[in-house]
Symmetry: C2
Subunit: 378 residues, 2 copies
Amino acid sequence: MKIACLQEYLAQGLSAVGRAVAPRSTLPVLGNILLASDEARLKLAATNQELTITCWIDAEVKDPGATTVPARLLGEFVSSLPKERVELALNARTNTLNLKCATYEANVKGIDAEEFPPIPEVGDHALASLDPTLLHEAIGQVAFAAATDDSRPALAGVLMSFRGESLTLAAADGFRLAVRKIDLAEPVAEGLDIIVPARALQELARLLGDQEEPVRISATPNRSQVLFQLKNVELVSRLIEASFPNYQQIIPTSHATRVNISTKDFQNAIRIASFFARDASNIVRLQITAGEELTPGRVVVQATAADVGDTVAGIDAVVEGDGAQIAFNAKYLADVLGVITTAQVSLELTSPSRPGVIRPVGAEGYTHVIMPMHVTQR
Amino acid sequence: MKIACLQEYLAQGLSAVGRAVAPRSTLPVLGNILLASDEARLKLAATNQELTITCWIDAEVKDPGATTVPARLLGEFVSSLPKERVELALNARTNTLNLKCATYEANVKGIDAEEFPPIPEVGDHALASLDPTLLHEAIGQVAFAAATDDSRPALAGVLMSFRGESLTLAAADGFRLAVRKIDLAEPVAEGLDIIVPARALQELARLLGDQEEPVRISATPNRSQVLFQLKNVELVSRLIEASFPNYQQIIPTSHATRVNISTKDFQNAIRIASFFARDASNIVRLQITAGEELTPGRVVVQATAADVGDTVAGIDAVVEGDGAQIAFNAKYLADVLGVITTAQVSLELTSPSRPGVIRPVGAEGYTHVIMPMHVTQR
């Protein structure tokens, strides 16, 4: 193998695939990056066997070939090089990759490319084409609500549900549910549900960065793997083979109280309350008062920790319906308020023991449901 | 106690004193900030019993008094408040501090101010007056070379040596020595040596920030404590009562080789070498070749880790005297190159087993000595 490319492209490519590396695996080759010539390009790939990221960069291929080298060392070395041409040459006998750039040179010991796990074949029967900006936003609004443990496999993933002209993403961890619907560029022929590990979608969101081209999504016929094709980058993830709970029935269809409140003021009040709540099971209490003819409605945010103290903040709000009292986990409120980009947010409540529904005001398609916490009345 | 002040001043004051808090002490009051009225100001103080930082902010004192409250909670709460007036009121019976700002309110349980350790009295017989910018730079260039363990107490501190019109700071950890000399605004009447804990000086440097007024330094007559007076802030530290090694005799007085090299290029070559050196006792080898009539001198930086690979980089340099080979710890080179602000740096060598001397080129007053590492020749 003898290949030359620009330092910038190589550094970007290594950064793109790097998050799929499994540095502490018992299989040392999983801590390596695959470098392989692919016609007139250099292919870089990394896998942790659940998630595989592949990237192609423009290169001058003088002599085709492939090897794998330690990801961390290669990434650090390349990112410290000047923005010039990098020459890569493999000594196949010793499996040592020689890199030269300006006055810098290194020899890095590799592992034979034959030992690198094969990249799963998904084929290219695109299921749908997705707008990268919408997909990026939807992942940000949904994936954090997935469970971080694997006790119920379906909940560690995000349901992607394709129906006609729309894609709905949904994630839930038993305490909260996030649902976001986005438009598809072209309608899908038949409905399809897949569950993608939340971590894979978060890596996809990172790769979407400032890409402008549509993202193509494909799945294997047996629905075991999914492929996302970006410009010069592909991400393959295993799919979670489980059935996702029927989340629609969790979303309340009516409410007794509806509050419209400044997202920023609500977020700041929740942050302040959380400093006290962290010593008290993260409980924040909301007290909602309907307005009168001349006074606005009000949301009072309270937290109390027995040994520490207490805090209270009042925020003017538009309150429709009855007054209400309810308690939530401060973290769950902070998480959802952090992904809402509209100036106002609405909160719908039914009773202190029924879930609350949070939605951006003036933007369609996002619904967040949070279970309340049970607290003894003071 | 009933005091009002601006949120910005209070947040700045808490940030200034906060680094002296001892949050995990067995004495809970050391995790608190002292708040006390002081005529028409609010005094804030924190101490870990080695280091005490006190700060005064403008305030309206309606009713004098004092208390202590948990530093972390108070700091987080205050820094999240809007930039408005904060009202502080102490309920002396319950030792609870009530804070109000805009629509936010909190009650924080405190510990009686009587339990807060007394702030050491140093008196105000200033030894000297120091330029804050020079002092800030000198601390940055010297304090990192102090030992981080206490096996030899003097080496955990920085020697501050006042003589006539100059102050010399020196720190050493047995492997390296950093010395910086700065001018005093006014000569001192008699010579004085004190050893200040490196950590205290690093906190002082942080507080110097963008202060423009001279810093006054005083010590107790028995030389057990030192006081640095800044604008509105005072730092008191214990002094290390030990004798500092005679560092002058460590600085070589002659050399066989002198190299002038680009600080930035040398720093980058050391960084790249360190990725390989970390698996090989951090050893980087320098090979220095004198120039010929038509070719410049050259410094070649090498590192080799048996299981990983090797790297080599060549940098053009002006070499006076003989060629040379020497090995250093990559971290020590990286540390000193990181605090040199001149474009060129000089390296003086005598033999592979004798220390090297690094100085900025074109700036007076800074000397750094590094012991070499013994490596078997390849």
